[in-house]
């Protein structure tokens, strides 16, 4: 069964303190892995799509990496405005287009 597990559930950092969020997945062949940011009361905002192991993508203070079993979202020198819930999702290669499975998210809080 396809599964996505995110850790930690919650993370509190001091402003400027770099860290990483983890997304472990089990799928029968990966079509794509997605990272989203969700602010309270808002819909998820797209960040990155990764397709194959070894791929990396960057946007401002965020960098996403992918291996055959997991993805990391690295946050470098975070600011309070980076506080949000970060969601990971996967789509399996040998399943229907509807099967985009989300993890339960990591709640990130950055203290000034």
């Amino acid at each position: 069964e396809d599964q996505v597990t995110q850790s930690p559930e919650a993370l509190r950092l001091q402003e400027g303190e770099s860290s990483s969020l983890n997304c472990s997945y089990t799928v029968s062949g990966l079509r794509g892995l997605f990272w989203y940011r969700q602010d309270p009361g808002k819909g998820p905002e797209f960040l990155f799509t990764l397709y194959s192991a070894g791929e990396e993508k960057e946007k401002e203070r965020l960098k996403a990496t992918l291996t055959k079993k997991e993805s990391f979202l690295h946050i470098t020198a975070p600011k309070p405005e980076d506080s949000a819930t970060y969601l990971c999702a996967v789509q399996a290669k040998y399943s229907s287009a509807s099967k985009i499975i989300f993890g339960s998210g990591t709640r990130l809080s950055i203290r000034p």
């Binding site: 079509r31 997605f34 819909g43 799509t49 969601l87 985009i100 989300f102």
Partner: protein
């Protein structure tokens, strides 16, 4: 449109009443998804449309839930005889030829059943 648009943004309804939630996908996006997110929880898949047909309705939690899509555009999610456990945010997302496999979400419709 520029983004996925959902209405109403907030809805408070009495238990037992029917509600309709609307989604306008990004122009040109042929695939449309509905998800449910209860407070503090992850996204729960409800239904997927490709064009006007729904090849995957496996996530609809009961026969009180239904959805339709017309003109390969607007979709309506209907919840009949609402229950308190239906209280959640209902998120719509769409995907199109240019976006590849990536889906883009609207801001959601917050439903509260009292």
């Amino acid at each position: 449109g520029a983004g996925v648009s959902q209405s109403p943004s907030n809805k408070v309804t009495e238990k037992g009443k029917d509600v309709e939630l609307r989604c306008d996908p990004i122009s040109g996006h042929t695939a449309l998804y509905w998800y449910r997110q209860r407070l503090g929880q992850g996204l729960e898949f409800l239904i997927y449309f490709q064009g006007n047909s729904a090849p995957d309705k496996s996530g609809l939690p009961s026969d009180r839930f239904s959805a339709e899509r017309t003109g390969e555009s607007v979709s309506t999610l209907t919840i009949q005889r609402t229950q308190q456990e239906d209280s959640a945010v209902y998120l719509c997302a769409s995907r199109g030829p240019i976006s590849g496999n990536t889906i883009y979400f609207g801001e959601g419709s917050w439903l509260t059943v009292v």
